[in-house]
Amino acid sequence: MIIGLDVGGTHTDVVLLGEEGLIREYKVRTDPEDLFSTVLAGIEHIVEGIEPDRINRVVLSTTLTTNAIVQEKYPEVGMIVSGGPGIDPEHFRTNRHYYSITGSIDHRGREVAPVNLDEIHEIAAALKKEGIRNVGIVGKFSVRNPAHELAVYHAIKDDFGKIFLGHHVSGNLNFPRRIATTFLNTTIRPIHKKFFAAVKQSLEQKGLMIPIHLLKADGGTMSFEASLDFPGQTILSGPSASVMGAIAFASETEETLVLDIGGTTTDMAILVDRAPLLDPVGITLSQNRKRIQTLIRSLETRSIGIGGDSAVRLQDGILTVGPDREGPAMAYGGKVPTPTDAFFVLGIQKGDGLAASTAGIAPIAQALGISVEAAADRIFDEACNVILSQAGQMIDAINSKPVYTVHELQEGLQVHPKRILVLGGPAPEFADRLRTLSDFDVRAVPHWSVANAIGAALARTTCEVTLFGDTQREIVSAPEEDFSEPVNRNFSKENAVEKAFVLLRDKAVRIGADTRDLEMEVTEDLQFNMVRGFYTAGRNIRVKVQVKPGLIHGYQAIIERLLSNA
């Protein structure tokens, strides 16, 4: 049996899945001040009376680290960055103890200027004096040659705790994002480690000696042990839980738009043939008014401020819903009417709140000169229309992404989903209304209110490997995997792909994959002749492979059960 747990902004959803389908589901209010108790209470409740040895894994998706970042509550760390020619790395400063050093590597991974060890020792001394324990080291073009990051690492490794190196973060180029991502990993690690170690320990005390997997932003999972080296990857895994929860019910041949309609936001994503679209660069987090752009692999998602608790207003005769929230619905004691109040008025939601909801919507109805029911209808329509128009914008943005080859421009991916899958609390009601307002085939996902937790439970382990070959320099390397090997001049793109698959398989198993779930694919394979003078001096090869995000082996049986008792 598998436990899936997804910590959301308002609720934490927990499910217990087995061959018989959904065995149990449980919803508990999230206590943002004490996520540990929330998580533990969720797991304890769901396994009550179940033999511990019947449970073989638990997959958690939590907002813990995201919260730490948004609230800027993290410990001080040291950052050592090496820029070389280009934009001054001072522009990418992440924190107080941030040092820019000399030395540089070029785009092909050749050393241009060496590292100055005296300089490094001085910085190390300064950091130690400040009581810094964890350090991040990032060099420009370190994904082409990590020698400088390693040189700095070896010079200081005995003086500090955990040291994160930029070239481990991602195989993608982007120095500023590599700095930001390395910083995030370095700074959130203590919180991350403490939290999950405590969860693990508590479970063990209850006899649950099960592997803990964490959901990542790309819709895949990794083991808790592996996450200690990449805590950043578990950031913002909430939207990916929803997408994975919808995947089993999406068409195998068509594009599907997934909507997770929650209390404060609606998260949107696109599935193409049951595989989620990934963001080509990396996730962007918001912190106050700042954006933190990272190299953390993630699903292509868009989050908009529309949900059951969005504030409804009437200004100059114009009715608006969201994008903000001013507390709960009036039905639950809030001060501002919301779509949830509209649901009460429309009889979609039943309970004691009806009177408060009606009172809240009445002034709007009066100002519009219509009945309270008609006003509630308008509110519901408006919420749906905002969702549809934002979805349209997301699709347009995906379709207008730049391309770099003639082939891509002519045959590049264009998405035109005709089907929408909705999950979240008010999914069936929204599905009905969205269907009448659009040409989409709209359905609610079975078990819509806990589908996110089901998605987390069933997500497989994913990873990616980037391999770079240069037959003029006679080297093939995947710095992210600490791999580098001499090659001869005949080394080809085909050899590179083969090598990359070997590395990918090892990596996937290392971070917790089941060998039955290694659906591997090539996502990029480029080869360029390097002509110097009038002769071909070598080949420049770039290969990227991944374990496709998807569901674990054997999920079909579970899904069929879910469908039959939906």
């Binding site: 092909r108 200027a113 073009f141 071909t536």
Partner: protein, 438 residues
């Protein structure tokens, strides 16, 4: 967080799957390291730098600018449509005020492509800047255009396209044609009788470095632009003046190009040549993008940059000083020159041969232009190349007067089927292109 002072649009189309031939300087690898550097610097993440997907140019876009013989398909590939489309995308983004400035980093280039196209010259088939300009003139009614060509090779194709056009100022800075392809671009190439003086050539001596380029810009280009008062400035931003370029003999650097861009303040830049793909282009393009966006570029330099090592000699400085006097004299005399060239004539004629080095075609042209005080004057070209079709190409300018209009249509309609295989009419006024097989 970095934020651009000038909102800048980029189209980046490295055409990773297109080349003239595997060992050609204009090949798949050309913008590879530029892309690496641009991505690694995180330029596309900067606030106020917006990357656009290139549009695909259309046959109509080509027909506003060129006469393709025998037709458009015969002389182009998909890449040409994307590269020209990329320039057009940037042009539209600037005109729609989505961005303040824009840079199309596209390939293949276009500035050697002339009005008539039988094939490829100097790696160029269709003129991507001119196609963009003609589109902007039609769609946005742009009035006066200035093109500053900073490619090391003379922009002979662009010069040819605007030779008779009084609303388009063309300035080319380049390595002296006596020492480099295409062997043109001398001081006495001033434009046709209706647009005399509005073609300005600044042939710089080999080994010119930052000092010479910046001098030419400050003492010639900027004063001429100030006089002409264009509505839009286009930079034909070739990068082969670099000291590491294998095809040329100049000593310009990434810092120099960035400074030049900062001073010129082009509304739109379109990449042309530049073949030091590994040790120069990545740094130059980053420098130019930063300069366009109004960001600090002082730390962008080639690993081997040594300003003293590439400094120009005193004789070069002296030569450019004297050249500047001549260029400015020519510019200041442009009205007299026009009167001299027009004096007593109704039509002006010239004959020339054009060699398509990339495709090995020799074209013969006989050109007739109507001398006109009212407009740029209509013109016709009798064009033929060995063993291929002979065509009569007639052009009516965008602000063509009634008399020129009548003449243009008469030329087109009376084309002799015994002489010509094809009659073509480019009516820029009505924005249409007529074609008759004879």
């Amino acid at each position: 967080m970095l934020c651009a002072k000038h909102k800048t649009g980029l189209v980046f189309f490295p055409a990773f799957d297109w080349a003239i031939s595997p060992n050609h300087p204009e090949r798949e690898e050309r913008l590879l390291y530029t892309q690496d550097q641009v991505l690694e610097e995180g330029l596309l993440d900067i606030d106020g730098i917006i990357e656009y997907k290139p549009d695909i140019a259309t046959i109509r876009d080509i027909q506003r600018t060129h006469f393709c013989v025998p037709d458009e398909w015969e002389v182009t590939t998909e890449s040409h449509f994307i590269s020209a489309g990329g320039a057009k995308t940037i042009g539209m983004a600037v005109m729609d005020k989505q961005v303040e400035r824009g840079f199309a980093l596209v390939r293949p280039p276009g500035h050697h492509a002339m009005r008539v196209v039988h094939g490829s010259r100097g790696f160029c088939n269709i003129n991507i800047e001119a196609m963009m300009i003609e589109y902007l003139r039609t769609a946005y009614k742009v009035g006066r255009v200035a093109i500053v060509d900073t490619d090391c090779h003379h922009g002979d194709g662009t010069q040819d396209i605007y030779w008779h056009d009084p609303d388009v100022l063309f300035i080319s800075l380049h390595q002296d044609g006596r020492t480099l392809y295409p062997g043109s671009g001398f001081l006495n190439e001033l434009g046709g009788p209706n647009a005399a003086g509005l073609t300005v050539n600044i042939p710089l001596p080999p080994n010119t470095s930052e000092e010479g380029f910046i001098y030419a810009l400050e003492e010639m280009v900027l004063p001429i632009l100030a006089d002409f008062k264009p509505d839009i400035i286009i930079n034909s931003a070739g990068q082969d003046n670099h000291y590491a370029d294998p095809l040329t003999n100049m000593n310009f650097s990434a810092q120099g190009y960035a400074r030049l861009t900062e001073l010129l303040k082009p509304d739109i830049a379109v990449l042309e040549g530049g073949y030091s793909i590994e040790s120069a282009l990545p740094y130059m393009n980053v420098g130019i993008i930063l300069a366009m966006a109004g960001l600090d570029y002082s730390r962008v330099r080639e690993p081997d940059y040594d300003p003293d090592g590439i400094r120009q000699g005193r004789e070069v400085t002296e030569y450019i000083r004297r050249l500047g006097d001549k260029v400015m004299t020519g510019w200041n005399r442009r009205d007299e020159t026009r009167k001299e060239l027009q004096a007593g004539k109704t039509f002006d004629q010239r004959r020339r041969s054009i060699f398509y080095d990339t495709d090995n075609i020799l074209e013969k042209q006989e050109e007739t232009v109507r001398i006109c005080e009212e407009c740029g004057g209509c013109w016709s070209i009798d064009t033929s190349s060995d063993g291929r079709k002979r065509a009569l190409a007639v052009h009516l300018p965008i602000k063509g007067c009634a008399a020129c209009r009548e003449t243009a249509y008469q030329w087109y309609e009376s084309a002799d089927p015994k002489t010509f295989d094809l009659a073509l009419l480019q009516d820029r006024q009505k924005d249409r292109y007529l074609k008759r097989e004879l």
